[in-house]
């Protein structure tokens, strides 16, 4: 597999894994969950070092995932009390966990080099060089890991489609037909936590955070149908991955950064030209209404 193909494929799989969950985060107004998780994993890495004295990928991922899940469930609990809104809950939980991690490093591991960049945040440009052997062929490890996560997310979303849909739009109605909204929302959040942690290790934090939010927000501007939104989110993610990589090669720039910029450009484009919710469409509609009104007034007077 050529390095270019490996990188685009990895980014596309990240876009798929994140794009399947992102729409639900945007609809549930917790778009920043990915960013929260990216900070909350630090104590997990420190704890893994303290308990197992290792910085090997697998134990670190498990330790990080435990704290990622703690983080999302803590946010979910705080929100469910009804005393704190979800955005404030996010802003309370992840700084606390991150601070715990910083103190842990200071106290127990000051002489060991532990930080997020070195231990868990991978760099997408290096994915072609870290390979594993699958059925006799060498495949980049990131493709295997992120591919498995994307497949698991696809299974989750397909199996619980109707439940996820009803709890995202109308949790009260869901409760009356015996679909527990809190259980579903916990499931989505745990899936986000696991997806984020495994993807961080392959491609770094900012690409995952971007892929969870920006394509989903773009798709939200384009459609009112959930199934279209999810498909469009994944598609936009792939578009950002492919075009972003081409751009990164052309400008000789950071791969993750270029992909993020392409995703952002798509968002701006949708903001302006979306057929129903875009700025252009809305100003045209307003213009037309004003003209109609003027015509009616003229007819009344004349």
């Amino acid at each position: 597999m050529s390095p270019d193909l490996a990188i685009v494929l990895t980014a596309g799989l990240v876009a798929t894994a994140c794009g399947l969950l992102g729409p639900f985060l945007v609809l549930r107004r917790v778009a920043l969950m990915g960013d929260a998780v990216s900070h909350a994993v630090l104590p997990g890495i420190v704890a893994t070092w303290l308990v197992l004295e290792t910085r090997a990928p697998l134990p670190v991922i498990v330790g990080a995932a435990i704290f990622a899940i703690l983080c999302v469930l803590g946010i979910e609990w705080l929100t469910s009390t009804g005393l704190v809104r979800s955005d404030a809950a996010i802003g309370l939980v992840f700084p606390a966990l991150f601070s715990l991690g910083v103190l842990g490093i200071q106290r127990f591991a000051a002489n060991v080099h532990i930080d997020l960049d070195a231990t868990i945040y991978g760099e997408i440009a290096f994915t072609p060089f870290r390979v594993v052997d699958v059925l006799g062929t060498e495949v980049p490890r990131a493709i295997v890991i992120v591919g498995a996560v994307a497949l698991a997310n696809l299974g989750l979303v397909a199996a619980l489609w109707k439940e996820l849909k009803v709890t995202s739009f109308d949790p009260e109605f869901a409760r009356t037909i015996r679909i527990p909204p809190r259980l579903l929302s916990r499931l989505v959040l745990v899936a986000v936590a696991i997806t984020a942690v495994t993807a961080f290790e392959s491609v770094g934090a900012i690409l995952v955070v971007t892929m969870l939010i920006v394509p989903a927000a773009t798709a939200y501007l384009l459609t009112d149908r959930l199934v279209v939104m999810v498909v469009a989110t994944v598609g936009l993610g792939w578009l950002a991955a492919g075009t972003g990589y081409a751009g990164a090669l052309a400008w000789d720039a950071s791969v993750a950064g270029a992909m993020g910029l392409v995703a952002a450009a798509c968002f701006v484009l949708a903001l302006v030209v979306s057929p129903r919710y875009g700025l252009l469409a809305r100003s045209l509609r307003r213009r037309r209404r004003q003209r109609e009104l003027a015509r009616e007034l003229a007819a009344l007077e004349g």
Binding site: L92, V209, T210, A264
Partner: protein
């Protein structure tokens, strides 16, 4: 500022940290409240991330790592990020959380791309540009404290002078726009102050502390009051107290200040959420438990009254089977009735005392009256719209209304 720092009975570095923590806490508390109320709690996070391209551009323009230039770049980029965020919210169906997320990801991506571009220019001077903003807290300098104090004072001034329009803008932007209030101006002024506070804050104490300090004071203060004016004052106070407590604790334990302040703040919010009078999780749990127990005791009382009508005094076992209640709960209710003197035990059988029977009858009467109200209340033309209390219909509607209600019930029968 110097005189205040000298006045405190602390060593110079400690005094600077304590003064800085107070100023930061008050500024972040008051400004954060305005963001949290509008569900933009994480605006600090977005501003911290969007400072990166500003720093990169400032470096590209000036070519040196000069603190003032980089901070100015960060502030300008933060302001642009904030304006873009508000514009996305105003012009589309995107909600605050997603708008913040989009700004955060796009600006940070741009920052990374710019940093790689700087790296390729083979400029040895650029090393560590990123950690200039996101590195460990550099510690507060006296100048930071002065600027932060100024920000806090201006924030308090704006909020005090423009309290009423601000309140209207926070809770109903379209109404305040329609009444001609300068909605945009207020929003821009408070956002600009927030940007200044965040940019100084992330340089001095770290991005994560700034994110937390914007949310913690309001999240705690909101549990204690439902009035915006009280909440703003409380948020400022909580911010100052959390800042000082964290700074002193960190000084005593000789660990970094920022994380300790965050953890103290998180603990304060947790306590507030659990135990806020009349609102906290524990209070609600206690209220629920009391209501459940009262319903149980009343139910068992009526069961016993029914059983005594039908035959000989029942055993607790028979009483439990009668209504299908768990025997354990029935035993608990009987103990409570016993304590209230409404019950006598004859061997293993129970019967009601005189007061017990009276209590059962009044309860039955109360429930009957409520049923009548639900059925015929609409025919009762009351002079005002009173919401009656199910447990005291007579008290809340008055004797005359209840008499008419009874007449309606008789007529219907």
């Amino acid at each position: 500022m110097g005189w205040l720092i000298d006045l405190l009975p602390l060593s110079y570095p400690d005094a600077v940290v304590v003064c800085g923590a107070v100023a930061l806490g008050v500024a972040a508390g008051v400004l954060g409240a305005l963001a949290v109320v509008r569900q933009r709690s994480l605006v600090g996070d977005a501003l911290a991330h969007s400072a990166l391209p500003g720093i990169a551009i400032a470096f590209l323009v000036t070519g040196v790592k000069d603190a003032t230039g980089l901070l100015a770049g960060a502030a300008i980029a933060g302001l642009i990020g904030a304006v873009v965020m508000v514009a996305i919210e105003h012009t589309s169906r995107i909600r605050p959380d997603a708008a913040i997320g989009v700004v955060l990801s796009s600006f940070f991506s741009l920052g990374i791309v710019l940093l790689t571009a700087i790296g390729h220019r083979d400029n040895a001077n650029q090393a560590g540009l990123e950690s200039y903003l996101f590195g460990q807290a550099a510690g507060l300098l006296e100048r930071d404290v002065e600027v932060m104090t100024l920000v806090a004072l201006v924030a308090i001034g704006i909020v005090a002078l423009a309290f009423r329009p601000l309140k209207a803008t926070l809770f109903d932007p379209s109404f305040s726009g329609a009444t001609g209030l300068p909605v945009r101006l207020l929003e821009v002024a408070s956002t600009a102050l927030l940007v200044v506070a965040v940019v100084i804050g992330i340089r001095a104490v770290g991005a994560i502390l700034m994110v937390a300090m914007l949310v913690v004071p309001t999240a705690a203060a909101r549990q204690l009051t439902s009035r915006l004016s009280v909440m703003l004052v409380l948020a400022g106070l909580v911010g100052a107290v959390v800042g000082v407590a964290g700074a002193l604790l960190a000084g005593a334990a000789e660990v970094p200040t920022g994380p300790v302040i965050v953890l103290v703040g998180a603990a304060v919010v947790l306590v507030a959420v659990l135990a806020a009078p009349g609102r906290g999780v524990l209070w609600r749990a206690r209220r629920l438990a009391r209501a459940r127990r009262r319903l149980l005791v009343e139910g068992v009382l009526l069961d016993l009254e029914t059983a005594l009508h039908a035959g000989p005094p029942p055993t607790p076992r028979e009483l439990a089977d009668l209504a299908g209640r768990p025997a354990r709960l029935v035993a608990r209710a009987l103990r409570e009735l016993d304590r209230a003197g409404q019950l006598v035990r004859e061997g293993d059988r129970v019967r009601l005392t005189e007061p017990g029977a009276a209590a059962a009858h009044s309860l039955l009467d109360q429930r009957r009256l409520w049923a009548v109200w639900l059925e015929h209340g609409w025919q009762l033309r009351l002079v005002d719209a009173r919401e009656p209390d199910p447990r005291d219909l007579r008290g809340s509607l008055g004797d005359e209304a209840v008499a008419r209600l009874e007449a309606l019930a008789v007529a219907a029968r």
